[in-house]
Amino acid sequence: MGRYVIRRLLQMIPVFIGATFLIFVMVYALGDPVAALFGDKAPDPATAARIREDLGLDKPLWQQYLHYMGNIFRGDFGTAFNGQKVTELMATAFPVTAKLTLVAIVIEIVVGIALGVVSGLKRGRPLDTSLLVLTLIVISVPTFVSGYLLQYLFGLKLGWVRPTVSTDAPLNELILPGIVLALVSLAYVTRLTRTSIAENARADYVRTAVAKGLPRRRVITKHLLRNSLIPVVTFIGADIGALMGGAIVTERIFNIHGVGYQLYNGILRGNTPTVVGFVTILVLVFLVANLLVDLLYAVLDPRIRYA
């Protein structure tokens, strides 16, 4: 187990370096941060050159990358062009998005798995078919569409919730945005659980459990569900990173000042330290979540052991 974790952590290093370098190149090489600093006005060449030198932008790209990474490991994510420390931005943005993602994941797990189990056990019945069609429809509606429709319906028409979220983002205001963020994944969780349950429902161990007279509830939760969860857990693990990155749209619709909001503004204004810093953290979250998922396999299925 310990050796497996260490091996996985070592494998993460090249991926981490590669992904951050790629994003670094895309942000720095493709865009011109100095021009972005000046907005629409053309900068005076001498001033531009001085700023470039101050920011170290005149050095070759790999040197800039090494310098940047060195700073990151000392906890210095640099300063956004408006003078605010990127770490300060992160300290306000990440808790908000983490809360939003948490709401979304909980909804996804509870509702998605419940619907999937019901659907999988009733395979081929009208309920199953209609749930399948429903999930297909939910998957086809892009987040920005469902976001506006639900905001319009519950926020403006019915007035059940505030259409936008206030600055400190209390949990009860994040429920609707959480649902919006979770919807597409929810449909996938339902479909994955259904397929898995329907497959395993015919397995020998389920027949054994039923035959030895276990109550139906126990067969489903202890035997069937536990064995069917592996593909679902894989999906949810990969989804944590996707949700945090994909929160851009949801945060924009509900005016939530989280990671997506900062990233969107950072990208539009060419605010490179913000963008690279935030994406670096997101890549880390993604990699760690995937590692945790792999470790969870062994918990779910004792047959899986890591040497």
């Binding site: 569409v145 990233l263 993604f286």
Partner: protein, 318 residues
């Protein structure tokens, strides 16, 4: 969606995909059919497939000849009063005021019709590019193995580590004017990983098959083995993933255009129209809702199509 939607589509195919596409014909009927004719036999009887195929043909016609559907221009002001509050005239089917007007007095119906081209072109274009690129990478990695496989697989991991929507935002933001082709290239640059993984997996299974060993023993060249023996047999899972991903790319383009970093004027795009309709949400919600519904229907058609194709090509799901 698109954002993550595309990544989602990737994981959705965690449901089993046929790795080796041989011997799929039903043994009971006596006369063996190939996987493809068997799939076609299945598809023709699947209502999901028929409905989605009709919708897709309709959308394709709309994308190719938009003037068949409306005489109004999507870019000209058709309503001088610019009265977006004027509700859709449901009675005037196919008229320029059928679906009402947007904030600039342009006919929403005309913009819906002309918007199909951008969506479909991006969806199909990205899928074609991604399939070619991903198949090449996946086949090389799977067939040659060793350090080539390690290198290519790590590269795939690196691209997978970057959130799709974020990567697309960063790349596209560097372009001042973003045409359909720029968007296609940017999405393809970030999206090939999924097909590469599927292709690699399929090739690894297939290269151990007897007919590949036999071809090698007969002295066939590597190119011939790859093109004549491996590729045709790896094609089924690749096509399944590609058709399902197509819908996701359409959603991704709409999301990017909605965020203002997708297609730019003068290209008419549904996502962009949703974005401009935002300010009118309180007074004239139809300006936002109509293009939103159009995007959803289009994505749904391609997803249903992909779902039907998967069910037909995957014998395990029967």
């Amino acid at each position: 969606m698109p954002d993550k939607t595309v990544e989602k589509v990737a994981t959705a195919t965690g449901e089993p995909i046929p790795a080796v596409a041989t011997d799929a014909g039903p043994a009971a009927t006596g006369k063996p059919r190939s996987l493809w004719s068997d799939a076609w036999h299945d598809l023709r009887r699947n209502p999901l497939f028929l409905v989605s195929a009709v919708l897709i043909v309709f959308l394709l016609v709309m994308a190719i000849w938009p003037s068949l559907f409306t005489s109004a221009s999507p870019r000209d002001v058709e309503n001088l009063a610019r009265d977006f509050r004027q509700p859709p005239q449901w009675g005037h089917v196919f008229g320029r005021d059928w679906l009402g007007f947007d904030g600039q007095g342009r006919s929403i119906y005309a913009r819906i019709v002309y918007g199909a081209r951008a969506s479909i072109t991006v969806g199909v274009g990205v899928t074609v590019c991604v399939t070619i690129l991903g198949t090449i990478v996946g086949m090389i990695a799977g067939y040659f193995g060793g350090w080539i496989d390690t290198l290519l697989s790590r590269m795939t991991d690196i691209f997978l580590g970057i959130p799709f929507l974020l990567g697309a935002l960063v790349v596209l933001n560097t372009f001042e004017k973003r045409s359909v082709w720029v968007v296609i290239l940017a999405l393809a640059f970030l999206g090939w990983t999924q097909i590469a993984r599927v292709a690699r997996g399929a090739v690894i299974t297939i290269k151990q098959a007897d007919y590949v060993v036999a071809a090698k023993a007969l002295g066939a060249s590597t190119t011939r083995i790859l093109m004549r023996h491996i590729l045709p047999n790896a094609l089924a899972p690749i096509i399944v993933v590609a058709t399902i991903a197509l819908g996701g790319y359409i959603a991704a383009e709409a999301t990017l255009s909605f965020l203002g970093i997708g297609l730019t004027e003068p290209t008419v795009s549904w996502g962009g129209d949703v974005s401009t309709g935002r300010e009118l949400l309180r007074i004239a919600p139809h300006v936002l809702i109509i293009p939103s519904v159009m995007v959803s229907i289009t994505v749904l058609s391609f997803l249903m199509f992909g779902d039907a194709v998967r069910n037909a090509l995957d014998p395990k799901l029967r």
